[in-house]
């Protein structure tokens, strides 16, 4: 292409000199036009090359723009997510400790009374007890038995609550997985950026990040700020009943 262009230019230049010497104005104009045109086609090629380079630079810039997006949106979001993990684990720990605090005295009380009754019962069996003492013992037993039932129920309920509080592991686990994915993505993008800086550019297929409205997102952080998110079971029930459930 280039050598072809050079031949055309050389021919035109020679013809131009000849025409100038011969004073042939129309040929001079014609040869000048050919020269200008060949110059222009070189310019076009140059512009084409520049355009291609620009295009490549732009598509490489996608990597950088994802990095910008990561720093502007995903990173602050990740801080919120990690704070959610702290709050949720803290709440669960307090809840569990609270129920333990509530349960331990119940168990101690049952044990102490049982020990006392056991001792008296032993004396009764050894016939070491008078009628008044026995009346007092049977009164104690009468009070104790419903108390055992009541306390056991309370202990059972408290243990159930402690068990439910362990749900934090699932909720925070989902969030931590998202953070792990993000860290991996940041790492991947940084590696690519380093490669680009080293002039080893690979054209990567662009991620098509289409938003799927029902994609699983795990626990919502700051659910209150998003009208598209329900805040509790009551709102779920309302929404479902509005659908005829």
């Amino acid at each position: 292409m280039e050598s072809n262009n050079k031949t055309i230019q050389l021919e035109a230049a020679r013809a131009l000199v000849t025409a100038l010497e011969a004073d042939d104005v129309s040929v001079v104009e014609h040869q000048l036009a050919i020269l200008t045109q060949s110059q222009e086609s070189e310019l076009f090629q140059e512009v084409g090359k520049l355009t291609r380079e620009l295009h490549e630079a732009m598509s490489n810039f996608n990597v950088d723009s994802r990095l910008v997006d990561l720093t502007e949106n995903d990173m602050p979001n990740t801080r919120e997510r990690l704070n959610y993990v702290i709050t949720t684990t803290e709440d669960a720990a307090h809840k569990t400790l609270g129920y333990i605090d509530q349960t331990l005295p119940l168990a101690s009380e049952l044990k102490l009374t049982a020990e006392k009754i056991d001792e008296s019962w032993h004396r009764f069996r050894m016939r070491e007890m008078n009628a008044d003492e026995f009346r007092s013992l049977s009164k104690e037993i009468e009070v104790y038995l419903p108390e055992v039932k009541q306390h056991s129920e309370q202990i059972h309920a408290n243990l159930s609550e402690m068990m439910l509080a362990q749900g934090f592991q699932d909720l925070t686990g989902q969030v931590i997985r998202q953070v792990i994915d993000l860290v991996a993505e940041v790492e991947d993008n940084l590696v690519r950026l380093v490669k680009i800086a080293g002039q080893h550019v690979e054209n990567k297929p662009k991620d098509n990040k289409e938003v799927d409205p029902i994609k699983a997102e795990g626990p919502q952080i700051n659910a209150g700020d998003n009208p598209n998110v329900v805040n509790d079971q009551d709102e779920v029930d309302d929404l479902l009943s509005s659908l005829g459930f």
């Binding site: 609550e161 068990m163 439910l164 749900g167 592991q169 699932d170 626990p219 998110v229 329900v230 079971q233």
Partner: protein, 125 residues
């Protein structure tokens, strides 16, 4: 009554299993996502499915759709227990034929209420 509990977190499966036991359901079995749950369901003998949504492999919503699409399984009641709380998600689950939707974190009372409601409806049919 045999219940299949599907959740990728073993802690949550344990919690649900214990709560179900408290409610008198002693016969439970577990799977950690839709892909492992489906063969268990297809093998037969499961009367009730409790599933999470967000799981690797096959998600709960796809498991629900697969169950409804399989003529042998289509009538199994399905309770979704999940942290997914977007309106579109709840509507999608309802349209896919979920029988109950419980959001995490939940209480024992909520789980009982939803399960009672599901069986009331089945008994009424």
């Amino acid at each position: 009554m045999k219940i299949l509990i599907v959740d990728d977190f073993s802690t949550m499966r344990r919690i649900i299993k214990n709560l179900l036991r408290d409610l008198g359901f002693n016969n439970t079995t577990e799977a950690d996502d839709g892909l492992t749950a489906l063969p268990i369901l297809q093998a037969g003998g499961i009367d009730f499915l409790v599933t999470d949504w967000n799981m690797p492999g096959m998600q709960g919503i796809d498991l629900l759709k697969a169950v409804r699409a399989d003529e042998n399984l289509a009538n199994i009641p399905v309770l979704m227990v999940t942290a997914e709380t977007k309106r579109e998600q709840i509507i999608t689950a309802a349209q896919a034929g979920v029988n109950g939707y419980v959001v995490k974190p939940f209480t024992a009372a909520t789980l009982k209420e939803k399960i009672d409601k599901i069986f009331e409806r089945i008994d009424a049919e």
